[in-house]
Symmetry: C4
Subunit: 191 residues, 4 copies
């Protein structure tokens, strides 16, 4: 079973998620600078989510580069990941609309947490299919960054109850950690 | 005539259907948990439709894996399937907006019914093109699951007049039946 | 210069045009059948435009099947075609919203007319690139159907001033004429 | 690392940006010609942005034609370009909604400026990866058009404070300059 259509479908869904988020930046009726001020938190929220979707696309791209085939569990693990990512436009809009208030920030973290878990499940399903001693398994390795992300989100969500901006800063920190591209798979493939 | 563009176009349409459904989850203006309560039925409705589109993508992917070519009737049978699937965001939104009320539940079932029929017609058009003794025809076989789905929808719609949740439960039951991946084609291809 | 990306980009644009039209079918707040009645003209308008986009995708698919390469004028002729098709969701919504009233019906015809012209220009640009004695030129031939479509639209628009439904019926008639798949290119390719 | 998915993802994002802009042309409730008059500036704004996205797609297509591979910095430089292009629907809507008023025209220019810069950064990242004496580097050359575009935008934005239409005319002039297809890469590839 070929991986081409799974990649194409995932690309499509990620491209649409990325782009419809901008629809939450509603065009103001006034033409002065003041009309943009209420959009500032929505814009920050958009930038953060744009970077997160970019990171997921990037990692997904690297992951499937090393993959050789697809089976039923992998298809559904991938669909499960897309489900959580599809909720990002909603929590992005909610967080921006309410100026990084408590509950939206917690739910944003929750969606990131489940997306991170879904990505982890996907890597396990792929390793199970390719074998523990495959190039793919070796390339994924212990996925330290993925585990650290989940730990950060788990810490961030309760911290939001003290100060939402602390949680939001932790989400930004995780994004920065990922922006350093994942050289593990590239390195393994080059050998 | 190659099948590549038909797959790419179908992938695009399915990816967009999947993703625009989330736009029905309108971002609430309030930031507290209560603001999410009215979204609960919309969210359940979204999850169900997400799974259904996932199932259709999955089956479409399996089906075309075994296909070798395309002709005019197949192109239009595929377009006909996409038409009914394109109505899913509308009935999903209507069902969620009205908390699984009678008429939306009946129409949701109606759209599933026509989509199921359209899928059946597509398989017949493909068997007619590939021949009754082709790998594809053998792999599709009697399509027992597809026929059972149509029977379930047919039973569910009148039952909705007694209790809409019974019909909705049957839609869920059909989805669960399909979540077990279709190993028929995979098995045939492996031989 | 390869044609793959031009096909992929056109597929993406056509898939999105097809799917965002359904967003004009606004989810009603009431759950009874009466709530659907005002949607009837919008639904008819949607079905007509769905078929037209399907026809364009179908013909585009056939056309590029026979193409070997791309140059600058072809790229822009294709973009020009996509521009007119991108206006179809707007005129579809306007025509449905106003129950097939005079001006929306005239503008719908106008967009179809310009899309038809743009398609014609695209075929000429492709023939100019491939040569008058190429397989592609032979396959396109005199494009009788395309010319008849333009003539029909030209007749339909003034007729709308007497009775909009006459013009709308002519648009339906042209769609039916195209639904018979274009065997010219298929036939030529088979030789 | 293959370039296929990066092209497919970029195509998807550009196709969606192109198409969701038309959603800003809100369907009027009235059916007469007067109902279209307030849409005129939105339509002009849409046409300009459609042409700009077309130009970016066109140049992106040419650029990657000559590319052989992808690395981390290129992936993120491309994502950075898509970010600025994703803001085009917002500034297009704002400029159209406010009839080419001062601030929207300035911000439209600002987004074009950053998109132009992002494209320039992308070409540098690609040259760094392929080498200064690669076909790609030679084909991109000094990118005179790209630099002139940035200079034009830089002049246009302050001029908008005297007369917004002067700035808007300069944006149109830059678009016309680009509509002449970029023969540099084509010419180099042909050798």
């Amino acid at each position: 079973m070929s991986k081409g259509r799974l990649e194409a479908f995932s690309d499509g869904v990620l491209a649409i998620i990325l782009t419809i988020m901008v629809l939450e930046l509603k065009v103001p009726h006034a033409a002065d600078l003041n009309a943009l001020i209420p959009l500032a938190p929505k814009f920050l929220s958009y930038v953060l989510s744009f970077v997160y979707i970019g990171i997921y696309w990037n990692n997904h791209h690297h992951l499937w580069q090393a993959a050789k085939g697809v089976n039923g569990p992998i298809l559904w693990a991938n669909m499960h990941l897309l489900f959580w990512l599809s909720l990002i436009p909603f929590v992005t809009g909610w967080m921006g609309e309410n100026n990084f208030a408590l509950m939206p920030v917690v739910f944003y973290g929750g969606v990131l947490w489940f997306a991170g878990l879904a990505y982890y499940i996907l890597t396990r399903a792929m390793i199970a299919h390719h074998g523990q001693d495959s190039l793919l398994a070796e390339a994924i390795g212990r996925d330290t960054k993925g585990l650290w992300s989940l730990i950060f989100y788990t810490i961030a969500m309760p911290l939001a109850f003290f100060a939402p901006w602390v949680a939001a800063s932790l989400y930004v920190a995780v994004a920065i950690m990922w922006l350093v591209p994942d050289r593990r798979i590239e390195t393994k493939l080059r050998k």
